[in-house]
Structure formats: C-alpha cells, structure tokens
C-alpha cells in the first residue's frame, strides 16, 4: 500500500497519476538522486542508508554488473574492469582521451564513431554506457523510494561542459530509459537549492559558486536576471581537491616520523589517518595524530599553515574568474558553497574574507546540487502552480546560415532565451535550381569565414521553377539543453530535410568571449564587407537574368549590334564586380539595366503577344 505525500494547493493528482520526478547529480566521484516529497527536497538513500553512490562500475565476464560501493571496493583488485571517473571521458573524442593515457589505467579501443571505448571482460564499453549504469542504479533507487515510475529527471552537468559532453550525458540517460526534462548546470542547481532564484528584491544579481570536491575545484560566476541564469565565467583546477589536503597532512606526518619514503602499507595507513585528522579538525581545534605507535598533537593552526598554498590557489582562481566576468568582488551578492571539502572551517573563513560576506553553507555541500536539480525537476513535472518561474538559459552566440555570396543570415540572435524555434523563408538563386545547401553557422560576424561552421546539409527535390519562386522555410530549433536542430522545407511540395547539430567539440568561454568582442571591434569592417558582398550578389543576379533571357529569346529579339552592346555592358559589369567598390558596382548594375531596358521592354511585349496568340480579341474585353 503506497504512502501518500502532501501536494501544493490545488495540485493533487488522481490516484496513480503522480508526476514523480527526480534530480540527479551525476558526479565524477559520487552521484546522488534527490526528489521533492511533501514540498521538501531531499536526497534519497539506498537500503543501507547511504546517500552517496560512488560513480564506479565493475563489469564481470558473465555479464553481471556492480555499481557503487561494491564496485569501488574492487578498484585495486580488478582495475581494468572497474571503471571510475567515466564522467571525465563523456563526450570526448579518441584524441582527447589520449591525454588520459597513463593517467587512467584502462585499455582504450577506437570505435567507428570516434567514441573511445574501454576494453573490459564484458566487451568494449563506451563512457556513455558506463554512465548509464550509474543512472540505472539511481533510477531504481528513486522508483523504489517514491513508489512508482519516474516521469522525468533533471541531470546536472558542469557549467563548462560543451555540446558534445551534454549530448553524451543525455544519451546515457536515454540508455538508462530516463526521460530528461533538461540538463542543468551544477552551479545553477546549487543556487536554486538555496532559493536564490525566488528572491524578488532585485532585477539582477551576481552569484559565485565555490565548488571544492574530492578531486576537482570549480568556481562559477553566475548572473541571475529575472529568472534567467547565465554563466558569466568558470574557472578552477581539475586536479585540486580535498585529496590534496589529505596529502599535505600525510607529508607532514612522514616528516614527523623522520622518513622521506615508506612502504605502500604504511603510506596507506598514513593517508587514512591524514583524512581522519582533517575531518576531526573541522569540528575541533586540536587532534592527536597516531601512526605506528607514534603520537603527536596537531592543531588547526598548524593545519591552516600547511594547506595555505592550496587555499590560495582556489582564491586565485576566484579572482581570475571575476576578472574574466569583468566584475569586482563587491558585485557578488551571494556565495554558495558546494562539495564536501567546503566543510573545512579554513575554506569557509577564507572564502568569507575574500568575498567579504558569509557564504551559504546550510545545505549539506555534498547534496546541494542534487537538491537543486530535484526542485527544478518537480517544477518541470508540473507539481507546482504556474506562478513559480521556470529557469531559463540563453544561447551564447548567434546561430545562422550561409546565404549567397558567403554572407551569414542570423536566424537566432545571441542571448535569446532557450528553448526557442525560429523560421525564415529563403528562395532559389538560379532558374531551375533544384537543390539548396544549408550551411549552419555560429558567431557574430557578417561573413562565413569569420564564423564557426557547425553543420551542412542539402535539401534536394526543389521543383523546377524560375529563380526566386521557390519558398524554402528553414527552421532553427534550440531545445532546453542548447542542442540545435535545423530543418528546411520546400513549401509547395513539402520536401524536407533536417539535421541535428552535435558539434564534435565545443567552445570555451574564452573563445566565445573573443568571438563576441571581435564582432564588436570589427563591426564597421564587417558592415562594409557585407554591403560589398550584397552588391556583388545583386550584380550576379542581374547577370544571371540577362544570360537566361538571352539564351531564351536573344536570337529572336535582338540584332547583332544590339547583342554586341549588351555583351559589352555585361563585360563591364563583370569586370567592376570583381574589383570595384560597392558604389562602383551599384553604378555598373544601373548602367547595364539601362542598356538592357529596350530588351526588357521587347521581351514583355513578346510575352504578351505569346499569351494572346491565337485568341479572340473579344475575350480580353473584360
């Protein structure tokens, strides 16, 4: 018999119609699942009461799979078949993974799709498959706890994840048979957990999220503007975390023992003791260190001195992230702490001193990201009244397509909130043109070469028509995760073609920033270039029209002399088009049009005559 939960006013569902939703923090080291029950967002525990699921998957030759604690226990015994930190490999190509060679103990195999596979006794596994095993375990835990099937989930990803990494995360979810409402940036989820998006006091606020985990450090600067979170800057160190603080203590213990090196077993003991010492010092001022019969007291002050360089490193990254965002410390209105290592008092004190305000620490820093994701999932599942605002993201760079002459037509402007769909109609350039290539571009500049090419596809089967008669509707659609889908449809016949854009690599914030500033400093140059190109295209169009007409009825309607005049005007325009200025081309086009005016008139008469040929004049009276 199911147990019942309290709903928001007016939001009760019919029996068995509960919109069960969960938030998933798919971490490098540990993963969590959380859900909102009776209005309260909490992480869900397994049957042993553990909330954290180690992100470790072990494969056996009989097809069995172990996930979590039990898999982690085998990390040293069955290294090749026990996959940890798969998140670091998600969405990476074979070339990226090469840099992990020697760092990660796995045997990588190339696949057809440029996805690196890990060789295990159970076959070759992609990082996506490994991650999906973690998701499956969390899904089962949530469904057992909530007493029903999950309708959808929100999965968090690092703010710096590019499109390929985000797509890989979604693919892992699909493999785990999960419906993803959306992906959410980890720092944004932490801010949501503290309800920072629900405070209405100000139009805009800047939030710093300081995330010190076991093995990584991330600092993110967010701007919250009317419910829209924008990541202004990210920074950090993918090889700095709580483990380094343990190492610092371990080295000190070694020194006290008067040894420079020790055997594996002693080292492991020292590491375990170092970790204990660190954790005790989070609550106490002093602790007794005891290894191999050696005893010494160790104070929090000593600890602080020891780890000072590590703390400084994180603060340096904070300073740089602020600089990247072009902000001052004073601009930051909220600081959110994420990651188990932020429990250390020294971290809290120094972060408080740096940002000159106490950080938010009330929610368990290991769980805060999952909690934020759960709140968002609950909202997206429709368990909250509409009045609550939905989180939104914006696209960082404009999206557009190549038009004739190497120009870029922007379809969706930068900073547009997503999800969004926009359509625009295009037409053919030449008579009887029956195919059109859609070249999708990203960036702020006016010409194709200056923008980033995302994808190319061709719409075929456009019916035979004169230039400019076909109507091709091109639709750009960006979903809530920033993934782009472009489709083109010929309106008369309905022939259609589409592409999903999954760039093989993404852009760093710096690259995005450079692309934006370039477009500003080069605005004038680009404008001129655009005008010139447009005039060249116009010239091409005029030439094309003349050529097509001449081929059609030039011999019937023109004398040899007239033909010569026209071909001279034509040659003149061709020459000026290649080398002339915008104005010169414009003049040359006019000149050619004037020269051809008599021919145009004669053709019109001809057309009318053809249309009326053989018909009774009386029929035209009305």
């Amino acid at each position: 018999m199911a147990l019942l939960q309290i709903s928001e006013p007016g939001m009760s569902t019919a029996p068995h119609q509960h919109r069960l939703a969960a938030g998933i923090d798919l971490g490098t080291t540990n993963s969590l699942v959380a859900s909102v029950r009776s209005g309260d967002a909490t992480t869900l525990a397994d049957d042993k009461g553990e909330h954290l699921l180690p992100s470790v998957v072990r494969y056996f030759d009989n097809g069995a799979i172990l996930v979590g604690q039990q898999a982690q226990a085998a990390l040293t015994d069955d290294l090749q078949n026990t996959i940890a930190s798969a998140k670091r490999l998600l969405g990476r190509g074979v070339a990226d993974v090469k840099t992990f060679n020697g760092v990660l103990p796995y045997e990588f195999v190339k696949s057809d799709s440029n996805v690196p596979l890990i060789r295990t006794v159970a076959g070759d596994k992609s990082p996506i498959e490994v991650s999906s095993e973690i998701l499956k375990t969390l899904k089962a835990r949530a469904e057992n706890t909530l007493g029903g099937d999950l309708k959808g989930v929100v999965i968090t990803v690092p703010a710096y994840f590019d499109d390929a990494q985000r797509q890989a995360t979604k693919d892992a979810a699909r493999l785990a048979d999960l419906t993803v409402y959306r992906l959410l940036n980890e720092p944004t989820a932490a801010a949501v957990a503290y309800g920072l998006d629900q405070e209405e006091a100000l139009d805009e606020k800047i939030i710093a999220v300081y995330d010190l985990g076991g093995g990584t450090f991330d600092i993110s600067i967010l701007r919250l503007n009317r419910g829209v979170f924008e990541v202004l800057a990210t920074g950090g160190d993918s090889a700095l975390g709580g483990d380094d603080f343990d190492h610092a203590i371990a080295e000190w213990i070694l020194q006290q023992l008067g040894e420079t090196s020790a055997d594996q077993q002693t080292l492991r003991k020292i590491m375990v003791e170092a970790r204990r010492v660190k954790e005790v010092l989070s609550d106490k001022e002093e602790v007794n260190v005891s290894v191999k019969g050696f005893e010494v007291s160790f104070s929090r002050d000593q600890f602080c001195q020891l780890v000072e360089p590590l703390v400084k490193k994180t603060l340096f990254a904070c300073r740089r992230a602020l600089r990247d965002a072009a902000l001052e410390k004073e601009d930051v209105m909220d600081v959110v702490m994420v990651g188990g290592s932020t429990r250390m008092p020294i971290i809290r004190e120094r972060v408080e001193a740096f940002f000159e305000q106490p950080p938010h620490v009330d929610i368990d820093p290991d769980k805060v990201v999952a909690v934020g994701a759960a709140i968002q999932a609950d909202l997206l599942a429709g368990n909250k009244p509409d009045s609550e605002m939905l989180l939104l993201d914006v696209i960082p760079l404009s999206l557009g397509l190549e038009t004739y002459g190497g120009l870029v037509e922007k379809i969706i402007a930068r900073n547009t909130t997503i999800p969004i769909a926009k359509a625009q109609e295009f037409t053919t350039f030449k008579d009887n043109q029956n195919a059109m290539t859609i070249h999708v571009l990203q960036g702020e500049r006016e010409t194709v070469e200056e923008n980033r090419s995302l994808a190319k596809f061709t719409l075929r089967g456009i019916p035979t028509m004169v230039a400019g008669a076909a109507r091709i509707k091109v639709t750009f659609q960006v979903d809530a995760d920033g993934l782009l889908n472009v489709s083109a449809e010929e309106q008369l016949t309905g022939v259609k073609s589409a592409i999903e854009v999954k760039p093989s690599y993404g852009l760093s914030d710096n690259q995005i920033e450079t692309m934006i500033t370039d477009s500003m400093t080069n605005a004038k140059v680009d404008m001129e270039a655009r005008k010139l190109r447009e005039q060249q295209v116009e010239a091409d169009r005029t030439l094309e029209a003349l050529d097509s007409a001449m081929a059609n009825d030039g011999d019937d309607l023109l004398s040899e002399d007239e033909k010569k005049t026209l071909s001279e005007a034509r040659a003149n325009l061709v020459a000026i088009k290649a080398s002339g200025t915008t104005e010169a081309i414009e003049t040359a086009i006019k000149a050619m049009e004037t020269a051809a005016a008599f021919y145009v008139a004669r053709r019109m008469d001809g057309n009318i005559r053809t249309a009326m040929a053989g018909k009774d004049i009386n029929k035209f009276k009305d």
Partner: protein
C-alpha cells in the same frame, strides 16, 4: 468525532510546513476518482475556503471541507516508513474497501 494526526505525523507536517516557509495547515479531502471510488487529497493550505472546518491535532491545523468530512470523520493519519519509501497513511473508519494502493477507497 474528529480528524486526528498521530504525533509522528504531526511532527512531519509541521516540519514540512516550516520548510515550505508558508501555509496555515494541512488540507485533507476526498475526490471522486480513482480505481476504487474515492481518492484522498492531501495539500498544503495557503488560503481557507468559506465553509472549511478546522481541527487541531498536536498543534497542526487540519482543514477540511464539509463534504469531505462526511467521508473522513474519525480518520487518523499516520506517518510511516515501508522499506525505502516513507509517507502518510489514512486509517479511516468509514472505509469499507480499498484498492490496495492506499490512494483510493470505497465507503
């Protein structure tokens, strides 16, 4: 008769209300829906309706509309854990049958 909460249930309801930051109490009710006739409704209350009746149990206000009261009078609500799952459970003396899911019942 009245509607009551067990002490555990009352504790949970007040902590959920605190957590939510607003709300005057807990609405209990019934809807004609579900696989076995009636379905229980449990919602936070921000605003009272005109004919609502209030019961108080262990310091928690239980708000109920008169129509639902007919079906719920004498009900005690408890908070329980079953395996990984936890939540509220009704023991309703008016109930003559339920569908086994606990969410709907007949009188």
């Amino acid at each position: 008769m009245a509607i009551t909460l067990t002490e555990v249930a009352a504790e949970r309801v007040s902590s959920f209300l605190d957590n939510r930051g607003k709300g005057i109490g807990l609405r209990l009710g019934v809807k004609t829906h579900g696989c076995s006739g009636m379905a229980y409704v449990m919602e936070f209350v921000d605003e009272m309706e005109e004919h609502d009746e209030i019961f108080e149990s262990h310091g928690v206000k239980i708000i109920i509309d008169p129509k639902s009261l007919v079906y719920l009078d004498g009900t005690e609500m408890d908070f329980q854990k079953e395996g990984l799952s936890e939540g509220f459970k009704f023991s309703n003396p008016n109930e003559s049958g339920s569908c086994g899911c606990g969410e709907s019942f007949t009188v």
